[in-house]
Amino acid sequence: MRIKLMIPCLVEDCLPEIGLAVVSVLERLGVGVDHPQGQTCCGQMAFKTGDAAGARAQALRSLDLFAGTDPVVCPSGSCTKMLRTYPELFPPGTPDHARALNLAGRVFEFCAFVLALPGAPDFGAQLNARAALHRSCQLDGSEAPQKLLSAVRGLTLLEPERPERCCGFGGLFSLQFPAVSESLLEDKAHELLALDPDILVSAEPSCLMNIGGYLARLGRAGRPVRALHAAQLLDLALKGALTGGASWS
């Protein structure tokens, strides 16, 4: 089977390693990955600032880029959600609306997609480490990251006291309400650090940047926390299985 890979703008230029990990995992699991050229943005920034016209324009680009019938896989809950929201941007009954419905019906968040592959959830991945999972509100309560990562042998997957509480990013919210955003981030970081993790893992790149960036600034004597996307963790763990086990040093 082949899929089309959708890469969030943040991943393209700031966190390309996440994209590479996604490709690595999918190919290792027997999925062919096509990466349509010319991707820029799913449109959620425009959409969330109330610029429906801007969001619509970006949606039209995406509809062209991902035209066809292949599943579209995206390592971001928020971008996946945005693609699923495209139908709302077009009047029902129009061809664009139909295309949007078609796309919305075949777009998948990375963890959810991998969980649906044959052999899931246990692909023999192995990694000895303590990983604190940030669920991300953008995943709308999806259990996929937790289910997928729980099957990684040797991994102690931990969840904070309030797993679904927002990390405070909210895109432009963090710029318009910086102190409120930071308060929420502080709370989240505190709860995650209380788990004494080696790794912070999330299926949402923007949350990862937000929390990971904060933890890096905070510093932690002795043992820094490494922020990884679920795809990166899984990639490491799959490779680890091949080399006879991987440990977090």
Binding site: L20, A57, Q138, G168, L172
Partner: protein
């Protein structure tokens, strides 16, 4: 919505930022919101067929909206038949006029009030007080904030931001209790309030309350409480005025019962509130207590305009359980005052934006991370994030939203022109790959610099597309074979 303090919706951003630096407030809010969420969670876990009951409550509210004009007419007829005098008010000013008129008509010198957001919305108290009438808030939390000269900070617990010592000091000063110790216990303080207010209940000429549910079929007004102050306000004084916003109607007693099945559980985690009063007209012949004269004021104040909007009208479903407040991470951090209006939290941001002048509520829809906790919590299924997004859109359409403008518009433009986008990012990466300088450029939102200060930003790296291309070339294959 005039407030008796300096908080305004206009200064929402500033007020929010300030509140998040208030460690004490944050501690209080953390405690209170966790308390309510825990109680509510336990109650709902034990509530058999919870989702079905929620759906029925939603249906009762939707029915009310879908037949609103007809039901309000029916309400008027049945209430009148029961002996209630029904009044209609377009706006706050008219409502104040009607109520102060009733107060003057019965020569009211002392007025007692149950906790009522609608009477705060119309700024009733100052209007009554201007005529020399004594007005006493009788809900303990409302009584406390009234003495303190502050607005309530939470729908369910208005004085949650006040400590025991704060209340002791307040009672000492305002109730003339010179001997009252700062160490007075909470039961002691409560007893003092009970004694002080009981005098007022017994002396009151007029009781004013809100309405939780007005039953169209029977002309009844249903009031829900835990303390007993609403029962006191509707039992002791000779005149009762109930004030309702026009969407608070239920078609039938059955619909009202469906709502009562859900409201107390969602609000405070109780199966039923301590007291539910179903009042239909004044006292009957032969009865010794209850109001002799009963009034119902039906208030519009902007709601009829909201009903016309097929999406935004969903905000009118709300029955004020307060659950969305307690579940909202933003509210949990900043509390109610920051919203600058009697309505706070997610539903407050919606209602204020819908009912107040647009220029005063510009920032309210943006004080939200769109995390969806409110939507998931709401027993009536109100989609707060969707409605807030629509308000953001409306703001942009009418040209009033300013701040998200530059950053978002620039990004949107570039993203529609991939070549320009790549050039811009390439240039940025060449000049400032660690993003040390760019976030701090003058002219950019100051929030960007702050963001860069508090988080270590990822660097601009060789783009994914380029790296993937390189990797694939190296692997000597154009495409990885599929299964």
């Amino acid at each position: 919505m005039v407030l008796s303090s300096s908080f305004t919706p206009r200064n929402f951003r500033e007020q929010s930022e300030k509140a998040s630096h208030d460690a004490r407030l944050r501690a209080v809010l953390d405690h209170a919101t966790r308390y309510f969420m825990a109680k509510r969670g336990a109650a709902l876990d034990a509530f058999a067929d919870c989702e079905v009951h929620f759906a029925r409550a939603r249906s009762a509210r939707l029915t009310a909206l879908s037949r609103l004009p007809e039901l309000l007419e029916q309400l008027e007829q049945s209430a009148t038949r029961a002996g209630t005098q029904v009044h209609w008010a377009t706006d706050a000013a008219q409502a104040r006029e009607i109520i102060t008129g009733i107060a003057q008509g019965c020569g009211a010198q002392v007025v007692v009030k149950g906790k009522s957001m609608i009477t705060e919305e119309i700024a009733l108290n100052p209007a009554l007080q201007a005529n020399g009438t004594e007005v006493w808030e009788t809900d303990l939390g409302e009584f406390i904030v009234q003495l303190a000269g502050e607005p309530p900070s939470h729908i369910i617990a208005p004085a949650i931001h006040k400590s025991r010592a704060d209340v002791a000091a307040l009672f000492r000063e305002k109730l003339g209790l010179a001997d009252l110790d700062d160490g007075a216990s909470i039961p002691e303080l409560t007893l003092l309030a009970r004694q002080a207010l009981r005098e007022k209940f017994l002396a009151a000429d007029l009781g004013v309350t809100g309405v939780n549910i007005a039953v169209a079929e029977t002309g009844s007004v249903i009031l829900v409480e835990n303390e007993g102050n609403i029962r006191m306000s509707t039992t002791c004084p000779p005149v009762h005025v109930a004030v309702m916003s026009l969407e608070k109607v239920a078609a039938s007693l059955e619909d009202a019962a469906d709502i009562l099945r859900v409201l107390p559980r969602s609000a405070t985690g109780q199966k039923m509130s301590s007291y539910v009063s179903v009042l239909t007209g004044p006292r009957r012949v032969g009865e010794a207590d209850g109001a002799r004269e009963s009034h119902l004021v039906i208030l519009d104040n902007g709601r009829s305009a909201v009903l016309a909007d097929p999406l935004l009208r969903e905000a009118l479903l709300c029955f004020r359980c307060g659950a969305c407040l307690n579940s909202c991470p933003v509210y949990q951090t900043i509390g109610g005052h920051a919203y600058g209006s009697v309505y706070s939290g997610p539903i407050g941001a919606l209602l204020s934006s819908l009912l107040l002048p647009p220029e005063d509520t510009r920032d309210l829809p943006f004080g939200c991370t769109l995390c969806g906790a409110c939507k998931r919590t709401c027993p009536l299924g109100i989609d707060h994030p969707k409605l807030l997004l629509r308000l953001r859109e409306r703001g942009l359409e009418s040209g009033r939203a300013d701040s998200p403008g530059f950053a978002s518009a620039a990004h949107t433009f570039l993203s529609l022109h991939p070549l320009a986008y790549r050039l811009a990012v390439g240039a940025a990466r060449a000049v400032d790959p660690n993003l040390d300088l760019l976030p701090r450029l003058p002219g950019l939102p100051s929030g960007l610099a702050n963001f860069a200060d508090t988080r270590q930003l990822p660097e601009l790296k060789r783009p994914f597309s380029a790296q993937l291309r390189d990797n694939r070339k190296k692997q000597g294959r154009k495409k990885q074979g599929g299964a």
